[in-house]
């Protein structure tokens, strides 16, 4: 994992903005970024304990350097002059020696340095502490160089840092002017730079917390009949492979852009902000995706993976029909065979989507068992998969099911949270204070939350369906009322009776009408990182009207649960705070329900 150094810091807020970096640098040489030792000491106090504090010097004396090391104190020293080896040897802390690179000959010099690390930069023009000019990284390719001691500097910014890292695989990247605006450090640029440089690796460190493979704490696993084990294991291997394949990622993002229409805006909701009188409200617009909800992000990813595995037949389950429509759509696009299982009850309340699926060429199978809703549709899809496993991929629609589904669906949906993070930094220069998303199985919520899980300052709130109320027996509030259990291939939280029979869920919203919650959410609920609140049918319906009239956006019934919860959250927030709502989908599919329930609306 490449480390990040933010150099030339002079002000408190910039040190704070660099809190996710690995190192901060203070310039003690003559420069417009020069600070005194005392100032560096003050600033250094604001940084985390494990942050490297690096002092930058040009031809300073040993005494000068030593005093700074002891006073600030510095954990590393970076030398940009013509310091002799004797001086380097005397310094107590690790030393970085800087070199300007013009030609292949200069690269040779690097290997002769006795310093612990070597920093490469473009030739300086204004002062010797770094020029801000980009040098030709290709000079570092194909030469004999120990990249584990390489620090890359010179003209890096958020747009080129990824390329620089993949081309030179350095120990650390060092940035100064690339995170400045008009000669002064810029908090937003600092955070964006760190995000770009570490984005992927930050995810990787988070993944390490899943141990053993396929578990989130005690939840997850592969609890499937033996017949499916081969398919599940193959999928696990294929996904692992695809995830690390740039071509696959490129193709996935190509379709997100060209077909789904990403990236989706993070819309400032001025009238909701005003009406609620609390924080600034932003809406992440998954409703603008082709097919009308976030589900398509996942459908594309999995359909590409299925083809990579040589499978051209797809089975899926659907509740609200959004996932069914997304799957049928992608199957039309890629010419895949598609069968969708849907509960009889849901077929009734989501007729429009049933017709859309049929129009798109999918076979829709009505499930009459149980409550005729999503749980029963998953059962039938699993049975179909068991029977047709050799040539069929089960394209599950939420962050549920046996490993690797919960991880894979989360990864495909994480585009929501990644875009949001970038956008809010651009618009507000900081992370939001709270984010609300609705949870059915949990895919839009986990996709939104996942990139923020490590950002402790961001409160994450999931809104589940309370149906007629959590104290009645007609709700789908799995995290409020559920307990640990195994359903549909994973250990998760489910609504069940004392004998371990899974109970039927109830919600006006077909997409939240599910008696389980994906394993990662179950884990995040247990460890308290995410809080989950339950919203009733009536509260959701009220939010449909409110949002439609305030913002001209008619939300899906599922989404309306997030709106209602956000409104509650807003009551205790202030005008200088920021609240983001994940608008998981639009309300077209729910128009029949709205017409019926909101009859007499004026």
């Amino acid at each position: 994992m490449t480390r990040v150094k933010i150099c030339g810091l002079m002000e408190e807020q910039h040190v704070k903005a660099a809190s996710q970096a690995d190192a901060i640098g203070f310039v003690f040489a003559p420069s417009k970024r020069r600070v005194s030792v005392e100032r560096a000491q003050e600033l250094s106090r604001l940084a985390n304990n494990d942050m490297q504090r690096i002092g930058v010097f040009v031809n300073a004396s040993y005494e000068e350097i030593d005093e700074a090391v002891k006073t600030v104190p510095l954990t590393m020293v970076q030398l940009h002059g013509d310091e002799p080896d004797e001086l380097i040897r005397r310094i107590d802390v690790p030393v970085i020696q800087a070199f300007s690179i013009r030609s292949p000959d200069d690269v040779e010099k690097l290997n002769n340095s006795i310093a612990d690390y070597i920093l490469v930069d473009a030739p300086g023009t204004d002062y010797r502490g770094g020029s801000g000019h980009v040098f030709d990284w290709s000079l570092l390719e194909n030469v004999n160089l120990d990249h584990s001691r390489l620090i890359l500097a010179g003209g890096l910014n958020k747009d080129n840092v990824q390329a620089a890292i993949s081309q030179t695989t350095p120990f650390m990247v060092d940035v100064s002017s690339g995170v400045e605006t008009a000669g002064r450090k810029d908090e937003v640029k600092i955070q964006q730079f760190i995000l770009q440089a570490k984005g992927d690796s930050m995810e990787r460190t988070q993944e390490k917390t899943i141990d053993p493979v396929g578990f989130f704490g005690r939840y997850g696993g592969q609890f499937v009949p033996e017949t499916l084990m081969k398919a599940v294991k193959e999928l696990e291997a294929a996904y692992e492979d695809a995830k690390n394949d740039d071509e696959f990622q490129k193709e996935y993002h190509h379709y997100l852009k060209e077909y789904v229409g990403r990236e989706q805006p993070l819309t400032f909701a001025a009238r909701m902000t005003e009406a609620w009188g609390g924080p600034k409200i932003y809406l992440k617009r998954e409703d603008l995706n082709h097919t009308g909800a976030h589900k398509v992000n996942n459908a594309i990813g999995q359909a590409l993976l299925a083809q990579r595995m040589g499978k051209r037949k797809i089975v899926a389950e659907t509740g609200a029909g959004q996932h069914g429509v997304a799957t049928a759509t992608i199957c039309a696009l890629f010419d895949l065979d598609c069968v969708v299982f849907m509960g009889e009850e849901d077929i009734k309340r989501q007729q429009l989507n049933v017709f859309r699926m049929k129009l798109l060429g999918a076979r829709v199978e009505s499930v009459t068992k149980g409550s005729g809703t999503l749980k029963d549709a998953v059962n039938e899809a699993l049975r179909y998969w068991v029977t047709n496993v050799e040539d069929t991929h089960y394209l599950i629609g939420s962050a549920l099911g046996p490993h690797p589904f919960p991880t894979m669906v989360r990864d495909f949906q994480s585009v929501i949270g990644k875009e949001t993070k970038r956008q809010i930094l651009e618009k507000e220069g900081r992370l939001p204070d709270a984010i609300v998303a609705c949870v059915g199985g949990g895919s839009n919520a986990i996709g939104m939350f996942h990139p923020f899980v490590e950002d402790a300052s961001v409160r994450l709130i999931g809104a589940e369906a309370a149906g007629a109320g959590v104290d009645t027996d007609r709700h789908a509030a799995t995290l409020t009322k559920g307990s640990e259990g195994v359903l549909h291939g994973a250990m998760m939280k489910i609504l069940q009776d004392d004998a371990g029979q899974v109970q039927e869920a109830h919600s006006i919203s077909a997409g939240l009408d599910y008696p389980g919650i994906g394993p990662e959410h179950a884990h995040l609920a247990d460890n308290g990182r995410v809080t989950y609140e339950a919203i009733t049918d009536d509260e959701a319906l009220a939010s449909v009207i409110e949002m439609s009239r305030l913002e001209g956006i008619i939300p899906a019934l599922e989404t309306a649960h997030a709106i209602a919860e956000a409104k509650k959250q807003a009551q205790s927030m202030t005008a200088d705070e920021v609240l983001v709502i994940c608008v998981s989908g639009r309300g077209d599919k729910d128009m029949a329900t709205y017409a019926e329930k909101l009859e007499g609306l004026s």
């Binding site: 609890f223 009949p225 033996e226 398919a231 259990g485 359903l487 004998a499 371990g500």
Partner: protein
């Protein structure tokens, strides 16, 4: 369970009957077990109803739903078994999905199952990889955790699973869910032969077995047959006598 190995050594085929506990009422459980053991079956799987039986076809699912409608639970079945006032002469194996066991408590489940006279447990949604959830407790009670292998089980896993197999191995003869079938796939014979070669314990074919033609097809490649849906349906329709020829076809020695 030792008896199963002896039966194999003697060259006899086993007939394992699956019943849905509490289908028709909990009082039927004892009656059905008595009937089957008198009729000469080798062992009986006592199925526990579950709300979401994804490995099962419509017949067993419907039977499970009938039992659930009568309020049957894992606990009630184990209690009933502990109250049997007749001699149980054949090994009883509890077949249940994992969730009722987790809810009941894995340790408590194995203790009560032992008291109920069970010799083994089959959990179709507990793969070999996760057996630690149950196996240590089962071992304490000397219950065997029966493993399933299927047509899709890859070679390396098959060897792993069979190395540790106890009691008998459940060789699933269809790529699919339980339920009666007209025909079995051609490759099933080769599959069960391979399993039998590698297995230290008897190998029984199950899923889809419902006719004498299935038995004849596989007779030489397995040590026994497990019949579920056909028995469950016959009990439900009160015509279990119809199954007698099938039981005989398996258990009466053939002179070949």
């Amino acid at each position: 369970m030792k008896r199963l190995a002896e039966l194999k050594q003697a060259g006899h085929k086993a007939f394992v009957a699956y019943i849905m506990a509490g289908d028709g009422g909990i009082e039927k459980l004892g009656e059905q077990i008595q009937y089957l053991q008198e009729r000469g079956v080798t062992a009986i799987e006592v199925g526990i109803p579950f709300s979401d039986p994804v490995a099962d076809g419509p017949t067993i699912e419907a039977a499970g739903n009938r039992a659930l409608d009568k309020g049957i639970t894992l606990e009630k079945v184990l209690d009933e078994m502990q109250r049997f006032d007749f001699e149980v002469k054949v090994p009883l194996v509890i077949m249940t999905y994992l969730n009722p066991v987790i809810r009941f408590g894995a340790e408590r489940f194995t203790q009560e199952a032992k008291k109920a006279g069970a010799s083994g447990v089959i959990i179709p949604d507990l793969p070999f990889e996760h057996r630690q959830l149950i196996e240590p407790f089962a071992k304490q009670q000397e219950l065997v955790l029966i493993q399933l292998v299927t047509l899709t089980t890859i070679e390396s896993r098959l060897e792993e699973i069979l190395k540790q197999a106890e009691g008998f191995v459940y060789a699933v003869t269809v790529t699919g869910i339980t339920g009666t079938r007209d025909d079995l796939a051609e490759e099933v014979g080769a599959f069960t032969r391979k399993v039998r070669e590698l297995s230290p314990v008897p190998v029984y074919a199950g899923f889809g077995i419902s006719k004498e033609s299935h038995v004849n097809m596989l007779r030489d490649d397995v040590d026994g047959f497990i019949v579920g849906s056909a028995i469950v349906q016959a009990f439900h329709e009160d015509r279990i006598e119809d199954l007698e020829p099938l039981i005989d076809a398996v258990t009466i020695p053939h002179s070949v």
